[in-house]
């Protein structure tokens, strides 16, 4: 028996020396990165597919937006304002190579919100708050043309497709949120989901400038809205919808640059009709 012995093996030979938290961080980081890339790819793909949805289908889908859109105004002056906006939109659309099946419906809201938005089915909402900040019809035309350009380039339906893909991916990954998905499909909360990417905003800006140039022969006052927003203290008006928009300074610079490159005809801007001014 004296020939036998147990030599203790060195400590730690059976365990990898990595710190458990480092292991954890690497794994969580790796999986998060994979998920983010997959969801992003899925949403881009969905956006590409959504572009091919016929406009008629988009309009039908937009039927569910009803409660989000301002109701048809009752007072005569507000109806007059809506008709004016609709006429202006159609005039601008003539210079924008709209596909024949595409229709525009402009809604007027008396709310003081400084905003205008485009959503599914060619619905555009203009708020009185916005109109009150604008010095001329040209400035209003620029904002309106920007929203029309969103419709023209199918941005709302692309944004919907992307939002839908992200929501579906998150819901199926987390295994919860069936309720919220149904809500979304039901059209509730559809509007807040639609946010456009920076590239889409820039595309809309470029198209809008072209349209304003074709309609008026110059792009004077085009930057007026962004100049106003840049001046306004942000706390007063939460411009949530504008969070994805390119920086105002950058936009103003781009519009001014465009104006400088296109021979500025010295035509004064067209004044807004008297009935457009808020009470």
């Amino acid at each position: 028996m004296a020939d036998y012995e147990n030599r203790p093996p060195p400590e730690g030979i059976n365990v990898s020396p990595t710190h458990p938290l480092k292991d954890f961080a690497l794994l969580v980081g790796g999986i998060s990165a994979l998920v983010v890339v997959a969801v992003l790819a899925l949403s881009l793909l969905a956006g590409q597919l959504a572009r091919h949805i016929p406009f008629a289908h988009e309009r039908a889908l937009a039927g569910q937006l009803g409660r989000w859109l301002p109701a048809e105004p009752v007072s005569a002056v507000e109806r007059q304002r809506r008709q004016y906006l609709q006429a202006l939109a159609e005039r601008l659309a003539q210079g924008m190579e709209m596909p024949p099946e595409m229709t525009l419906t402009v809604h007027y809201s008396a709310q003081p919100t400084i905003n205008a938005l485009a959503t599914l089915g060619g619905h555009i909402v203009v708020f009185q708050g916005l109109i009150d900040t604008l010095p001329s019809e040209n400035a209003l035309a620029m904002v309106l043309a920007h929203e029309i350009a969103h419709v023209r380039h199918r941005h709302p339906v692309v944004a919907m497709g992307r939002g839908f893909a992200v929501l579906l991916a998150v819901a199926s990954l987390s295994g919860v949120g069936d309720g919220s998905l149904q809500q979304w499909l039901g059209g509730i909360g559809m509007l807040p989901v639609l946010s456009f990417s920076r590239a889409q905003e820039e595309e809309a800006d470029a198209a809008a400038l072209q349209a304003v140039l074709r309609t008026y022969g110059h792009v004077g006052d085009a930057a007026a809205f962004f100049e106003h927003v840049a001046r306004a203290p942000l706390a007063r008006e939460p411009l949530a919808i504008f969070s994805s928009h390119p920086g105002h300074a950058e936009r103003i610079a781009r519009i001014r640059d465009f104006a400088a490159r296109h021979s500025q005809v010295d035509t004064p801007p067209v004044a807004l009709p008297a009935f457009m001014k808020g009470d």
Binding site: P8, V15, S16, V28, I31
Partner: protein
Amino acid sequence: MYDLILFLFLLLLGYVFGQRAEKRHFRSIIEREAQLGDILVFSERKIPDEAACEGILVAGSVVVSVDYFKRFVADLRNFFGGRVSAYESLLERARREAVLRMKEAARRKGADSVWNLRLETASIYKGAAGSVGAVEVIAYGTAVRQRR
């Protein structure tokens, strides 16, 4: 949201207590291994000088539970493959503890060596959903003492 908070709380709880328990266990294992160093252990089946000895079956078993943190890290490991280091230290502890308990049993029997050592590992819960896994390791062998 509450699910997420609960999850992070469990993760933190698992990490803090799991790591503390593991460190303390390893300290105790190393200490007791030194104490029981005089009881020799061999996997050899053939006992030398067999006629002068008497053999008794001894066993030591241990069940160790996985903490929430280790479980989570190991689940993530399933995606990428590679060493599941979270479980490596767990099984190392279980094996050494089982051998120690077997040695203690041998000492109580008055033996000074254990031959034909065998280790067996069994998973309790077998990956049942929602349960925290635990692992059993049993060490057994033939304790040998001089025939009186």
